[in-house]
């Protein structure tokens, strides 16, 4: 469909530069930060499939994110890391399916509010009623790292390489999905869902599939985060997590493949660096959000688009 535009190349270069920087830099601090960016980047890419491509604002991604984390925490000891990572993806997709069965009965604003309430219901269940499995509010400590080919993944650098591999695979799959007929169908649904239905697309099933793929991405990234931190807790399920991924995607630029990843990078770096300069990093971050919203209509990707003098931003 559209040949690789200059801004997409520039964004890919920026992400690649970030990864290379982590490889060469000796400071574990940036290694840890960029590992975090890759994990949240996967979540944001998955989130943008339905938000940027299909035009569905979900406020429930924390539920799938947490589900993946808990799946890995509970299953890795018995079944090993990779099978559990797979189960985390399936868990994310299954929960996404469950959410979509309810949420797709309504559309627009009510879809967002319904996903918010369903995810918050999962949060309350995980922190109280399902306490026997989830360890309640204290969560589950001691989540495992992968154990493959005899490599010690408790070494953060090795684990970082593992994350890079998973991240690149995730981006590749999403890149293919976006330019595949499935991706164009989603764009059609966002552009005009009545016409999409009329030309023969099963719009509800398309949305459900997109939501499940997005849920799988959230599940995987949730598992990877739990493994990075050796810990999973209901806080991952809390609606503020859904809010964070939304902010990152908007900052980065919705509807672009790598925009959300750049949004994640800026968000995390700001949060990390600001807290070292000023005790009032919280307020400064708020001001940055406000300024970005007003002056960066298409997010950071919009900047790249201007830079690359490609078409102004991907889609309005």
């Amino acid at each position: 469909m559209s040949m690789l535009r200059l801004d997409q190349i520039l964004m890919a270069a920026a992400v690649a530069a970030m990864i290379v920087f982590a490889m060469v830099s000796t400071s574990e601090e940036s290694l840890n930060l960029i590992s975090l960016i890759l994990i949240w980047g996967l979540l944001a890419i998955g989130f943008d499939l339905i938000f940027g491509m299909a035009g569905m604002l979900s406020f429930g991604h924390a539920a799938m994110f947490g589900a993946g984390g808990y799946a890995l925490a509970l299953l890795a000891p018995q079944f090993g890391f990779l099978p559990s990572l797979l189960v985390a993806a399936v868990a994310g997709a299954a929960l996404a399916f469950l959410l979509s069965v309810f949420a797709l009965r309504v559309s627009g604003l009510f879809f967002s509010l319904l996903t918010l309430s369903l995810a918050q219901l999962v949060y309350i269940l995980a922190s109280t009623k399902l306490r026997a499995f989830t360890g309640g509010l204290d969560g589950i400590p001691g989540v495992l790292r992968p154990a493959l080919f005899g490599v010690d993944f408790y070494n953060n650098r090795n684990y970082f390489y593992f994350l890079v591999v998973v991240f690149v695979i995730g981006v590749a799959i999403m890149a293919l999905l976006r330019i595949s007929p499935f991706g164009s169908a989603l764009k059609a649904v966002q552009a005009n869902d009545v016409r999409a239905e009329q030309i023969g697309y099963n719009v509800q099933r398309l949305r459900q599939c997109a939501f499940m793929i997005s849920g799988a991405y959230a599940g995987v990234s949730g598992a990877l985060l739990a493994s990075l931190m050796f810990y999973v807790s209901p806080q991952m399920l809390h609606w503020s997590t859904s809010g964070d991924v939304l902010i990152m995607t908007l900052l980065g630029g919705k509807g672009t493949l790598l925009g959300p990843v750049l949004g994640v990078a800026v968000f995390e770096v700001l949060k990390e660096e600001l807290s070292q300069f000023t005790e009032h990093w919280y307020g400064v971050l708020g001001i940055v959000f406000i300024l970005c919203t007003i002056f960066l209509p298409n997010g950071i990707a919009g900047l790249f688009a201007v830079l690359g003098r490609g078409r102004k931003g991907a889609s309005k």
Binding site: L57, F102, R105, V106, S107, G108, L109, F110, S112, L113, L114, L116, S117, L118, Q120, L121, I124, L125, T128, K129, W239, G243, L246, I247, L250, H280, Y282, G283, V284, L285, G286, I287, V288, F289, I290, T293, I294, P297
Partner: protein, 285 residues
Amino acid sequence: MSTIVIGLSLSFLLFLLAAGLTLIFGMLGVINFAHGALYMLGAYVCYQIVHWTGSFWIGLAFAPLVVAALGAAMEVVTLRPVYNRDHIYQLLLTFGFILVIEESVRLIWGLDYKQVPTPDLFSQPIALFGSQIPSYRLFIIGFGALVSVLLFLLLDRSKLGMVIRAASSDSEMAQTLGVDVAKVRTAVFALGSGLAALGGVVAAPLVPIELGMGFSVIIDCFVVVIIGGLGNIKGAIFAALLLGMARAAGFTYAPEWVELITFVLLIVTLMTRPSGLFSRKGRAA
């Protein structure tokens, strides 16, 4: 019987909390996540006024005005340039507001707890239906009822209310009819912020005044607004009553399940009548 009176106080407190959000959410279509932060700000400003004047009532009168003015300023500076864009960008702005408001409260009042005593007039319990009912609860019922009637009259019966509803349902049309839509929006946002602060002042004697108090209120407000129907003051009153009574019953028989009751109620509403149980419109498209 006393549970019903307490249920009523729960309901009206919920209504006071949510009234501002119904207004801003319904009339401006802005999902105002900063509503909780404005509620907190109201409590802190009330603490400051009580600290200076020693009177809860002066706090009750002036704190909402102060926060309403701040709300208006925030709206003019940040929201106005973003109205014509997708709703999602207004939502992102309100996230920014939360962080800014919380940080400024931390700067001005610091981290330690603040305390607003129950006003002396209502500090003693009253024997009612065979148990001791805190008179402050009766004040909440009375005051909440008064505010709901005033709001209802303002929005559904007054000329200003008609202008507000016109501006919100079709701003272009209202503009052509000579309504200064921008001013109306600022006024609505200010009124919404003032109401949020009012909720904060009324709740101040009941809960600890600390930075996190706003965060816990947001979900409850959304529940009332959604069940009641966007921008539907009457709906918000009924939704608050429904939720308040459900919680009172929940606390009586199964306190552990109270939080779940709230969400099951919300999800059932969103699936059956997304535009609210009490709204005139049928199912949203």
